[in-house]
Symmetry: C2
Subunit: 201 residues, 2 copies
């Protein structure tokens, strides 16, 4: 922005203008009416509400929903530079970490120093996936696309030749975080196989 506002606010406004680009990053999943691909900004809203909705199914220790939502609102901002890496793309995953770290440095680097440290910290925590909060955030991020695939007739699975064992591996983090939703997910996959929208290998 311009020089008539102080440096701190200038940096914050530059950040909010820059991350608007997340609305133009497309994922592999379709929105639930099947009409088009979902973008990452929409997904970030969707996953945050999903985490609110499912929080009651977590086991002890209970994740802090407040921190989980902040993580989820920020977790995919790096895709502005690094793009969305398809969950089953082993080639793309080879350098995903490097690409996303560089993106995090550039994007969170737009912020004032203290906010950069705090927000980058939330992003790193999500990526590491080790804390109670990050484990829950990650589990939700794995589970929601399952619903999208189920509701849209498995288009993304079929198109990309994804089989059941791959999906099970992908959503494995759900089991430890919330056995109830893991059980639900396994049943959902059984139904998907029965419907012929997911290949049983």
């Amino acid at each position: 922005m311009e020089s008539w506002i102080d440096e701190r606010l200038t940096r914050q406004i530059a950040f909010i203008a820059e991350i608007d680009k997340l609305k133009g990053v497309l994922r592999r999943t379709l929105i639930m009416d099947g009409s088009r691909l979902e973008n990452t900004a929409e997904h970030s809203w969707n996953i945050s509400v999903f985490a609110m909705l499912m929080h009651e199914y977590t086991e002890n220790p209970c994740p802090s929903l407040d921190r989980v939502i902040r993580m989820l609102l920020l977790h995919d901002i790096v895709e502005i530079d690094a793009g969305d890496t398809f969950a089953y793309d082993t080639v793309g995953y080879a350098d995903k970490e490097d690409r996303e770290l560089a993106a995090a440095h550039r994007l969170f680097g737009l912020l004032p120093d203290d906010q950069r440290e705090e927000w980058m910290g939330l992003w790193r925590e999500f990526e590491a996936g080790e804390s109670v909060d990050a484990r829950y955030a990650n589990a939700m991020d794995r589970l929601l696309p399952l619903l999208h695939n189920y509701y849209t007739g498995g288009v993304s699975w079929v198109k990309n030749g994804i089989v059941r064992s791959q999906v099970v591996r992908r959503i494995a983090p759900v089991e430890r975080v919330t056995p109830a939703l893991w059980h639900f997910a396994m049943e959902l996959l059984d139904r998907a196989v029965e419907k012929g929208i997911l290949i049983q290998d």
Copy 2:
């Protein structure tokens, strides 16, 4: 969903599937690269991050960012039934409250009873705009479209014949919540008038 999951989870899954429709509700504001209209799901993510970013500018009493973000994630879900009412549409505003209340009853009514009460409560609080948290949430919701308009050359202002005094009235709630950002907004409007993208009346 189907009968093989319990009623509570069935309702929650039905809710998350239904609110996916928010991705298809278009607003009057453009995304910041000017390429297309923004949808309400993207906006809900954007405004939640914006509230995180600007929280430091609030005066005492300090709003609870946790509650503010939950409110903002849910505040526009009613637009699935009621549509986006343009901020300067006086005809549309005449029955906005009735339309949105009916929408809230239907949409939050998909949830289990306890979640319906809690989430509907957050929505009502936002709409009433009286609590410290709701005042801050509302102020952010008024302020962010200003940035969108500024960055996109005032297209939505010009197209809809909006003049400066209308914008000032629209963002009036910002002044009480955060004088620093109110000052910033007034300067931004001055610059918009200078650039010829907003009419000074």
